[in-house]
């Protein structure tokens, strides 16, 4: 066997080991989370090796019921958190897209003084530590009475998702042939009309990808929620709700049920739009 043949075989095998390895490490923790979320904690303590639940346990939904039940009935009130998270995430998407599409079009297509400066400024914002912005925002919102309100949270999410939106969309807008826009202008469309009737429909896949990202960022966010709304339980988003389950008094299986509840929408959305997302990711360099 020559060296080339040996390497061919060696790396051929290694490739498969590596594929299995990465699939397992990506998938197993989620399966484990899902399985544990159905089990009574006593079962798990008795035999940690048997982590998969029985059919009865799955159909029982015991942990999920306990987590979702309102506080007044001895549960953890997750329905409220689901509602709050949805409101926050959807509002953030709508706001960010409306502001971001116009801004991205402007940077991509319109000549104006300061265009370069705006682009660079946004990159800097994107790279700056969130924690540093969080401290003064905390003081600012406390004084303006915006703390302990979902509005405060939404506008902070808007500000922190705008730079990504701007980048991802700018690149895509630039790839649309200018001739199309010019033709539409000749045919009598106004500049805003061009954005509405040409740019947005053509950039629909990119816009969908951005919308999903922004949704994910807002849905998953933890630090700002912790700083701004911790004191008002009825305003909690899901991340604070799940965080609350991480205590000595709460069985870990319920913590896993909470984790499944916060992850499920994201995973479903991700699978629905995987192709857009992976393309968008590399285009914009999404922060994480």
């Amino acid at each position: 066997m020559t060296r080339a043949q040996f390497e061919e075989r060696f790396f051929g095998t290694l490739k498969w080991i590596s594929i299995v390895f990465f699939t397992v490490i990506a998938l197993f923790p989620l399966l484990y989370m899902l399985a544990l979320s159905f089990k009574p904690i006593q079962d798990l303590l008795l035999d940690p090796g048997r982590w998969w639940p029985t059919l009865d346990q799955i159909s029982g939904f015991e942990t999920y019921r306990a987590v979702i039940r309102p506080v007044s009935e001895g549960g953890f009130g997750f329905l409220t958190f689901i509602r709050n998270s949805s409101i926050v995430a959807i509002s953030t998407v709508v706001l960010t897209l409306s502001v971001g599409i116009l801004a991205a079009y402007s940077v991509a297509r319109v000549n104006f003084f300061g265009r370069q400066a705006v682009s660079i400024g946004m990159i800097l914002v994107y790279l700056f530590p969130v924690v540093i912005v969080a401290i003064p925002l905390f003081v600012m919102f406390s004084r303006m009475g915006l703390r302990d309100s979902l509005y405060g949270l939404i506008i902070v999410y808007l500000a922190s998702t705008l730079p990504v939106t701007l980048f991802m969309l700018r690149g895509y807008f630039q790839s649309i042939p200018v001739e199309l826009e010019e033709a539409a202008r000749v045919d009598g469309l106004s500049r805003l009309g061009v954005i509405r009737k040409i740019t947005i429909p053509l950039a629909a896949p990119a816009i969908a990808a951005v919308a999903l990202y922004v949704f994910m960022i807002a849905w998953n966010e933890f630090l700002y929620a912790l700083l701004f709304i911790l004191e008002k339980r009825e305003l909690w988003t899901l991340s604070l709700g799940v965080n609350q389950l991480n205590s000595q008094e709460v069985p870990k299986t319920m913590l896993m049920a909470g984790s499944v509840i916060i992850s499920l929408p994201i995973i479903v959305l991700f699978f629905a739009a995987e192709r857009f997302l992976t393309e968008g990711l590399t285009a914009g360099g999404v922060k994480g």
Binding site: E8, F22, S106, V110, F112, F128, I135, S142, A159, F270
Partner: protein, 325 residues
């Protein structure tokens, strides 16, 4: 009649382009204004205010009285945050965590991209599944790890038990004596190492996507030329693929370094900063919420920003070449 009028105005416009350019400029500014305002009010202004806060006495309890400019500026906050016993160890932890996490995630991403680049059955599915760690909410990911690593009922310790290894509390053990085949013992900072593995696990998909994109945009003929020249796979990787990946890897390292350095959630949720895993961001939030000292938190934030600026500056000075990016 109307026709001549139109041509007249057109020639006028063509002669003096300024009004059109001006209207174009106005249009551009109008479109971008909302975004700029939002970012100015909610990011730029707070950043400046943070500078001023770091020089003021500002406590959480009398937060209503904290002013924007501040009456008497002092360096007390900086004295306080640098003077605490664990300042340097927090800094060291932050660097170990950041560099370890960045390198590990990029290395794993590289291996994953090399393995998944060719065609095989179910490739699309595997490529999607591999992105899970990156997509799942950080809070869920951190808590699953906590449960998996739990010394009483976690699955990892159950597996270790099969090999007769006693339960290990991965996230709360400061240092662990690891015996290597009974030859010598290695003392590893276990909790910190675990957190770094979490970073590697969580962010390798990010590196994976970038490196995969770079691999796929590589010209095929170089590959074929190497094959014709009789290069083995390892030679091809060493002399063809890897050099071509250097630009994307160095950009990845910069991005991952910056983002890991600024990261708060991961460590906070996994260990809360216990067992020598406290990084600077967790310390900042501790100053603010735990000890109610907003000024000190702001000052430590300035330290964080300063280090970041220096490191990024050094990167651009020594590693960045114009043609690479």
């Amino acid at each position: 009649m109307t026709k001549t009028l139109k041509t007249e105005t057109k020639t006028k416009e063509r002669r003096r382009k300024t009004p059109m350019a001006r209207s174009e400029s106005r249009f551009g500014v109008a479109l971008i204004l909302p975004a700029v305002l939002v970012v100015a009010v909610l990011v730029a202004f707070p950043l400046l205010w943070n500078v001023s806060l770091s020089f003021q006495k500002a406590r959480l309890i009398d937060i209503q009285d904290v002013s924007i400019v501040g009456a008497d500026w002092t360096l007390n906050n900086y004295d306080t945050v640098v003077g605490v016993r664990d300042f340097w160890s927090v800094l060291r932890t932050t660097f170990v965590y950041t560099i370890g996490g960045s390198v590990l995630s990029i290395f794993m991403g590289l291996v994953a991209a090399l393995s998944l680049q060719g065609a095989f059955r179910g490739r699309a599915l595997v490529r999607g599944v591999v992105l899970f760690p990156y997509v799942v909410p950080v809070i869920a990911a951190a808590f699953v790890w906590q449960v998996m690593l739990n010394p009483q009922f976690g699955i990892v310790n159950e597996w270790l038990g099969w090999f007769g290894i006693p339960a290990i509390d991965f996230l709360r053990t400061r240092s662990y004596e690891l015996s290597v085949f009974g030859l010598f013992t290695l003392t590893i900072p276990l909790a910190l190492t675990t957190v770094i593995f979490f970073e590697g696990w969580r962010y390798f998909p990010f590196a994976f996507l970038f490196i995969l994109a770079a691999l796929q945009s590589m010209p095929k003929d170089v590959d074929e030329a190497a094959y014709v020249d009789g290069a083995t796979l390892s030679q091809k990787f060493r002399y063809v693929t890897l050099p071509a990946l250097v630009p994307v890897i160095s950009v990845l390292f910069l991005l991952r370094f910056i983002w890991t350095f600024n990261k708060f959630d991961d460590v906070f949720l996994l260990t809360g900063g216990a067992a020598d895993t406290e990084v600077i961001t967790v310390k900042i939030v501790d100053w603010m919420i735990g000890r109610g000292n907003v000024g000190a938190a702001a000052a430590l934030g300035m330290v964080l920003a300063a280090i970041l600026i220096v490191v990024v500056g050094l990167y651009f000075k020594f590693f960045y070449q114009e043609d690479e990016a």
